[in-house]
Chain length 340, copies 2
Amino acid sequence: MPKDPLNIHYVAARAGVSAATVSRVFNFPDKVAPATRALVAQAAQELGYQPNASARTLRTQRSRVLGVVLPTLLNPVFAECLQGIALAAAANGYAILPVMTSYDEEQEQQAVAQLLAAGVDGMILAVSSPSDSKALARLRDAGMPYVLAYNAHPAHPCISVDGEAAAAEVVARLAALGHRHIAMVSGTLTASDRAQQRYRGYLRGMAAAGLQAPPLVEVPFVTTAVEALSRYLRAAPRPTALFCSNDLLAIRSIRAARLTGLAVPQDLAVVGFDGITIAQDLTPSLCTIAQPNHDIGRHGVELLVQAIDRGSPPAAGDSLYLPYRFESGESCSAVAEAAA
Amino acid sequence: MPKDPLNIHYVAARAGVSAATVSRVFNFPDKVAPATRALVAQAAQELGYQPNASARTLRTQRSRVLGVVLPTLLNPVFAECLQGIALAAAANGYAILPVMTSYDEEQEQQAVAQLLAAGVDGMILAVSSPSDSKALARLRDAGMPYVLAYNAHPAHPCISVDGEAAAAEVVARLAALGHRHIAMVSGTLTASDRAQQRYRGYLRGMAAAGLQAPPLVEVPFVTTAVEALSRYLRAAPRPTALFCSNDLLAIRSIRAARLTGLAVPQDLAVVGFDGITIAQDLTPSLCTIAQPNHDIGRHGVELLVQAIDRGSPPAAGDSLYLPYRFESGESCSAVAEAAA
DNA sequence: CTGTTAGCGCCTTCAT
DNA sequence: ATGAAGGCGCTAACAG
């Protein structure tokens, strides 16, 4: 049973050296004679000693902890991204401190305040609206290194895909398949920067294809999405294709279609966005824009770690736009003859 | 612009009091005269002062951080649980430090070691095998408060549902629907305590129904599950119902069935386990055992927090078995006449 | 009710 | 190459 005060002095005493030497063994092994080093390592090993993280943080002003601010883990996109963040952080010797904000700006601010007080070395966040975020302003003022994930904004360092181009590509492909009535479905547009990017891309794509864009189908509450979508699909005029701002909505759209008696993709083509892992194992498999969610997290961590090491926060110029992939799935096909 | 040393003394100076008083305002507001308290609060507010977490932790030996050890966030069950943990932790003034272990016992040990060194106040874990876990032994030796989630074991405090009873119930219901050929599908059995519980329940249920249990269908790799299951379904004799040890496998089984030309549920009834949120919006909606994933996380946090407050780790007797619900979904129906 | 004092465990000059 | 000393920011006794 180890004595209660399992600190650096105790190890030092056992190894017959000073506390400073023990500290060096853990931080700069090269600065200690091999023999002494072995002695100390041995003592530490036997005692099961590990340097106290708080004391080390207090002294060095570096916590080796990264804060993570995400809307929710109920959307697999963010769960997958967090998994990537967690793995990359661990690989780089960092721990993570995640906080969920429910797409709420007020909670984003609180999360940032909490993480600032916790003394994290950097933060990765996905926020509602980067352009006017108080939370981001606070980070910048504090000189805290941070990276945005999934957001896209010229004034901030972002890891993302070009959502606008991807959305435009979706529309182009649908148009090429003969679809002329293509509607877009999203959650509350103002609550998500992502949805806005994608909507812009949708509009651009429609214009490029010479098609008229019907009004955006906004579905505020996830829980009632199927119901709302069913109502929408029963009302005329009905589109032949639906572009959904995320995969969760696409899945619910497919259900709504089936409940309404529409066959997917024959009567209604459905395309999602995100590339959540599960989507490819559904039946029909989901046609979507696949994002490298894991890598978005990983690159975020790496960018942050590099910035921390070199001592200056990431800048907008460090932004990374990763490649996306149009994943053709069974939920999307050419428009049926009768409807064309 | 706040001065660099934004510490308790700086606030104290500005409020014209001592550091101790500032500390008291943050920790025991009642022990300070209302007037002084307001003065200090004002000063802190203006400066944007927040007590330094590391210093506080070093001094009090309490970090107000909870460690979380989970296999992966790629399975929505754990993502949903973590969401519950995160919310409950925040509500109780705790931060969380999650670590993912990929169902690997070696990584479970590393995670525990890391969390121990980080000085967390308690831990919530879902491990592969509670009975012989070195990681749990280490926690117990260290006197670290911990709770298991999803695991079930008489020697440890667990938050879970009765997976065995639930599995038995599934079999009973399938039998009542006329199914006589009921097979069970799982991942690597040894990698998951949950799968083992459910398999025991399956066997018990089969025995109770007077049915013979065919060999367990073990699908080691998630990525190749659809392929393996398709092969299995094409080979005779084919079951009329499939009980899957989790929802992810159930979803893949449904896909495998369709690829094989089998209609679900007419030709093959499929039942899952977990109750991941997305399952009810699929088509067919998934028949499953719904677990309160969010609440499992929440109760884990609450049990831990209570134990920490009272100063003694949770005991096996504190285990909580939450209610599960058989969620009838469209993926399961009575056996077809021809096959009966 | 408030101030003084000491030290949590560690790292980091500065000396030797 | 190693040791001695001071202080990171905070809280908990103890005085007053």
